[in-house]
């Protein structure tokens, strides 16, 4: 039983920190920082402990029955660990970043309180062992991110928050419908018990197809699949660390993670393949990838461009899932990690430009590479990685997507990948050109000298660290415990027959 408490502790570190932070007075900035950082470090350690134990074959399961037939279940598997690892790593980085970013701004207590709740929900999503538990944390995530989106409190933020809530709550409702219907059909199914649905036999297939679509619709809102993506660009009004977390690991990624769970752990990839739904999934992903890229091209401000880029990039995960075979699976799983690292870097950079120089529009970035070389280098790494150039993480994803496409007998997907790479290049390279090759105008929109270096060290360190990680996971993809190694392990050992 003592083993089962470890996932609960992991969850509790951020869940219990939230009320603690809300109890601390607004002025106690230092105490708050200490509590936040300590919790983040503690959680990273606990996740590391879980990973270690998992590789030694220990079983961590915690559960109790809520009402007859519905149980709360936390369990640890490779996929959940990967997501929990990503979220705790980026939580630490983003906490450091947010402390620097929100220095001297009002309502920090509220911000950090809900920030912790938001991370607690992502960990809950990662460790959830069945659809009920997943749904619980999924909804908690919606509610805890709303105060973060509207943090600034001005009209635009409130309007965006309204749109955000409308989208996500409706999505949650649809998801609830699907979960209940599935429960009515087969009862309480823990993730990984794929045979329960497969055993229903062919006569249940039409019903299962309909339920899959309902669940996909519910998850697709957070995963920002076109045409359910409308909330994402509007939510850009949130402060930079929130956008970073929202795009890299929390909301959008929770949706994508949910789709991964749905396909691999609830239905099982073989059943989805049998139902003929993978083609639909790849078409949806293709449309989203291309549409997001084209929309990104037409954005004149940095954060909206990154937002549409997220719309496009997250669908790589869905595209990878839809390619039946080990390589497609690896691509989808590994991009879960890779996209998070690269996108969080890009958003940190956007935040740095905005905080230090007051830059929001792309045309104001001229010559910023000389003023802020480290930030710009990190941005370059993130952007080139998004295009999919080696040796950065994005290349590994693209490689496996391409291999998976051929393996699944869908070589046309390679055309999609190449087109998307070119579109990515078309909207990222002009930014890099402005950063490095254009001459600055001599003055910035709103320059503040935040630190001894190009900007405050609190902002600079997480940026550099995630950029470095983005390179390392690509350059050293062959090392044990790299995301690629984990994804390969999952794809070959767990998900494919």
């Amino acid at each position: 039983m003592s083993q089962g408490w470890l996932p609960v502790f992991t969850l509790a570190t951020s869940l219990l920190v939230a009320p603690l932070i809300l109890l601390l007075p607004e002025r106690a900035g230092r105490a708050r920082a200490v509590v936040n950082l300590a919790a983040a470090v503690l959680k990273l350690l606990l996740v590391a402990l879980l990973v270690l134990g998992f590789y030694q074959g220990r079983d961590y399961t915690f559960g109790f029955t809520v009402v007859e037939g519905v149980s709360f279940l936390l369990q640890v598997d490779a996929l959940g660990l990967m997501f929990a690892g990503l979220s705790s790593l980026l939580w630490l980085a983003t906490t450091v970043y947010a402390i620097g970013y929100l220095e001297d701004s009002p309502n920090r207590k509220r911000f950090f309180g809900f920030f912790s709740l938001c991370v607690a929900s992502t960990v809950g999503i990662a460790l959830a062992g069945n659809l009920f538990t997943f749904l619980l944390f999924y909804e908690l995530l919606t509610l805890s991110t709303y105060p973060l989106v509207v943090h600034r409190g001005h009209d635009k933020a409130l309007a965006a928050g309204k749109v955000y809530l409308r989208y996500t709550l409706t999505g949650g409702l649809v998801l609830l419908l699907g979960v209940v219907a599935l429960h009515a059909l087969v009862g309480d199914v823990a993730f990984g018990q794929r045979e329960r649905l497969a055993d229903l036999g062919p006569e249940a297939h039409p019903m299962l197809s309909v339920l899959f679509l309902v669940l996909l619709l519910g998850l697709g809102v957070k995963a920002a699949l076109v045409p359910l993506h409308g909330w994402l660009p509007r939510a850009m009004v949130a402060p930079a660390p929130v956008s970073a977390l929202l795009h890299a690991v929390a909301v959008v990624k929770a949706g994508a993670f949910g789709i991964v769970r749905l396909v691999y752990d609830v239905y099982g990839i073989s059943l989805v393949h049998e139902l003929g739904l993978l083609t639909l999934l790849s078409v949806v992903a293709t449309v989203t990838i291309l549409y997001g890229s084209v929309k990104a091209l037409s954005q004149q401000e940095l954060k909206p461009r990154l937002a549409y880029s997220t719309v496009s990039q997250v669908s790589y995960i869905v595209l990878g899932i839809s390619l039946f075979g080990p390589f497609g699976t690896i691509a989808g799983l590994v991009h879960l990690m890779h996209q998070g690292l690269m996108k969080v870097t890009l958003f940190y950079c956007a935040g740095n430009y905005a905080e230090e120089l007051g830059i929001h529009r792309i045309e104001d970035l001229d010559g910023a590479g000389r003023r802020m070389p480290l930030t710009s280098m990190a941005f370059t790494v993130g952007a080139l990685g998004m295009i999919g150039l080696p040796p950065i993480a994005g290349f590994i994803t693209k490689w496996y997507l391409g291999m998976g496409a051929v393996q699944a007998g869908m070589p046309w997907v390679i055309g999609v990948i190449a087109t998307s790479s070119l579109l990515n290049a078309a909207y990222f390279l002009p930014i890099l050109h402005r950063l490095w090759f254009r001459q600055g105008r001599g003055r910035w929109p709103e320059e503040r000298r935040l630190g001894r270096y190009e900007t405050s060290a609190w902002l600079l360190l997480p940026t550099a660290a995630t950029a470095l990680f983005s390179i390392l996971v690509g350059l050293l993809a062959g090392v044990p415990f790299s995301p690629l190694d984990l994804a390969t392990f999952m794809a070959t050992k767990e998900y494919l027959p």
Binding site: R370, I414, A477
Partner: protein
């Protein structure tokens, strides 16, 4: 000694890092009081960037290095096929580095004096030059596909910074055309690599070649790769960036661009296409490659003669020469049995053209700022690589006779006639380039042992002697018999005669009309640009139409909404009417009910 193998591409990166760190330190130390730092970026360490690669190329024996944890599994190796490419690439980079030190002397001086623009440009050059080099070396040494692609991409993107070095409108245009076409090429290469590697789950280039030979859609994969690498190798139609980028790039960058980097495209073909594999069945594609190569050779000669800028003429000459090279590669697909014998002459041709074109580009700078040497020495030395390129002398002559030797007895002997005719065009181009250099010559202004003339002299000598030092393994290079000489040099003679005639006609007719028709550098680029403009305008129109339709739809929806609201308003109005009657109505209904009850 596989450490040396790893060091060859890494050393330039370390050099770049060193320059960057020194720069950062100097900037952080310089306060407003102490003044600007006096920092020499192009120092001895910087110049040493290609040295480990040169050492590696001269190292005896084959080397291989495999790294499990490097990306998807790294395999770098140095074998008999790669050695000559590495050797001439490293040598030309070394000489070009020395040349750059002299070429940028003025900029270095201004940078030391504290001029911002010069400092910025010099910094970019000092950092991107070794990065481009590192990419170039890596793509030669890599055997695993990801490393190869990494090298290719690094070289391509970093070289953009070298092309736009000068700044200004023309440099931006050159850089833009370079980048757009390079990206199109990258896209095609990525598709070709992923598709063919995926079909056999191959990770190495040799596995890739097998995969293409065995795959059902091998023809399409090979076509993608041909066109993708063809952007670098100047396949006609995709060549337009060369004449736009070369004239604006700094001369040492043009030299490595034309000498080595475009060869990366050819090396890409050799590494990925299943040349010499009989079962591949790619003969039709081979025919296309040969045809496109010859077409490029002739078209570029015609267009190049109409250019005024000597570097543009040289760029067109590169397109022409690469076309000849491509036609030989095509033979390797259409007649696979010939390829094993053809590889050596193709390599020699590539090495000869690389070094010679490097020497010619160096010569452009030298004729503008000649060293204090007698003219009777300088101009023959400037003409030597030109004559060599037209196949009349030195390495060009040997390369041509080698090709002739291999092709003469084969079914592709007809190709020799066409190549000879193309050589007439090359001679004309060379004459044109030299003539433009003569017209733009400057006054002697530097010692012969200054970096620029020294690098140029070394390049001229090395280029002339390429067959002597380029390693070919066991089989040596056959020397042409004296009796065959006339058969080899006639194109150059015809070309020279034609050039003389043209010059005479031009002199006689001067004053009445321009000596040569002017044709903008970049030829088809302007067509592409116009087409892209039309397409963009069309798209914008379509979008506007869609938007107006959407607006109409929205307007209709709004109208419907209004109507519904009006109706609801009507209801509300009616409801308000009810209020007046509510009490009597209720009372009436109650009364009726009571009446009913009483009666019932």
């Amino acid at each position: 000694m596989s450490l040396l193998l790893a060091l060859a591409p890494l050393w330039p990166l370390l050099v770049m890092l060193n320059a960057g760190l020194r720069l950062a330190l100097a900037l952080s130390r310089s306060g407003p009081r102490r003044g600007r730092p006096r920092l020499e970026l192009l120092d001895a360490v910087w110049l040493s960037a290609p040295l480990p690669a040169l050492l590696l190329a001269l190292w005896p024996g084959e080397l291989a290095l495999s790294m499990q944890s490097w990306m998807l599994g790294g395999v770098w190796q140095l074998d008999a096929m790669r050695r000559p490419w590495l050797l001439f690439a490293a040598l030309l980079w070394l000489l070009a580095g020395g040349y750059a030190r002299g070429y940028l002397a003025d900029e270095r001086r201004r940078a030391r004096a504290g001029e911002g623009t010069a400092r910025r440009r010099l910094t970019a050059f000092a950092l991107l030059w070794p990065l481009t080099l590192a990419g170039n070396l890596l793509l030669i040494l890599a055997e695993d596909i990801p490393s190869f692609y990494l090298g290719f991409v690094t070289m391509t993107l970093a070289a953009y910074g070298l092309v736009v070095h000068a700044g200004g409108r023309e440099a931006r245009l050159g850089g833009f055309s370079y980048l757009v076409l390079a990206l199109v090429g990258e896209g095609l290469i990525l598709m070709g690599l992923l598709w063919s590697a995926g079909s056999a789950e191959a990770l190495t280039l040799s596995g890739l070649r097998t995969a293409i030979a065995e795959a059902e859609q091998g023809l399409w994969m090979a076509t993608l790769l041909w066109l993708g690498f063809g952007v670098k190798a100047g396949v006609v139609g995709l060549h337009v960036w060369l004449p736009l980028a070369h004239p604006v790039a700094p001369t040492p960058a043009s030299a490595v661009l034309s000498g080595v980097m475009v060869k990366a495209g050819v090396l890409g073909w050799l590494s990925t296409l299943p040349l010499g594999v009989v079962e591949a069945g790619l003969a039709p594609l081979g025919g296309w490659i040969t045809g496109a190569g010859l077409a490029g050779a002739f078209v570029a000669a015609v267009l190049g003669v109409c250019q005024r800028h000597p570097k543009a003429v040289l760029a067109y000459s590169s397109v022409s020469q690469l076309g000849m090279l491509a036609s030989l590669v095509g033979v390797g697909l259409s007649e696979p049995s010939l390829w094993p014998a053809l590889l050596a002459p193709v390599t020699l041709f590539a090495g000869h053209h690389g070094m010679t074109k490097g020497a010619l580009f160096f010569g452009v700078g030298v004729s503008e700022h000649p060293p204090r040497l007698p003219a009777w020495l300088i101009w023959p030395l400037l003409a030597l690589p030109a004559l060599s390129l037209s196949g009349a002398l030195a390495s060009g002559l040997i390369a041509k006779s080698f090709m002739k030797e291999v092709l003469y007895e084969s079914a592709h002997a007809w190709l020799l006639t066409w190549l000879s005719l193309a050589a007439v065009g090359s001679t004309l181009l060379m004459a044109r380039a030299l003539w433009r250099q003569w017209r733009g010559r400057g006054e002697p202004c530097m010692a012969w042992y200054a970096p620029m003339p020294l690098a140029w002299l070394s390049a001229v000598l090395a280029a002339a002697a390429v067959p002597l030092w380029l390693p070919f393994g066991e089989a040596g290079i056959p020397w042409p018999a004296p009796g065959d000489l006339l058969g080899l040099v006639w194109p150059a003679l015809v070309g020279l005669t034609l050039a003389g005639l043209l010059l005479w006609v031009a002199q006689a007719g001067s004053g009445r009309r321009p000596a040569a028709p002017r044709w903008p550098a970049g030829d088809l680029w302007w067509g592409y640009a116009a087409a892209a403009g039309w397409a963009a305008a069309g798209l914008a129109r379509a979008q506007a139409a869609l938007e107006s339709r959407g607006q109409r739809l929205r307007a209709r929806l709004v109208e419907v909404e209004h109507r519904v609201i009006d109706w609801l308003d009507g209801l509300a109005h009616a409801e308000r009417g009810f209020i007046h009657f509510a009490v009597p109505l209720a009372v009436g209904v109650t009364a009726l009910l009571l009446l009913g009850l009483w009666l019932g």
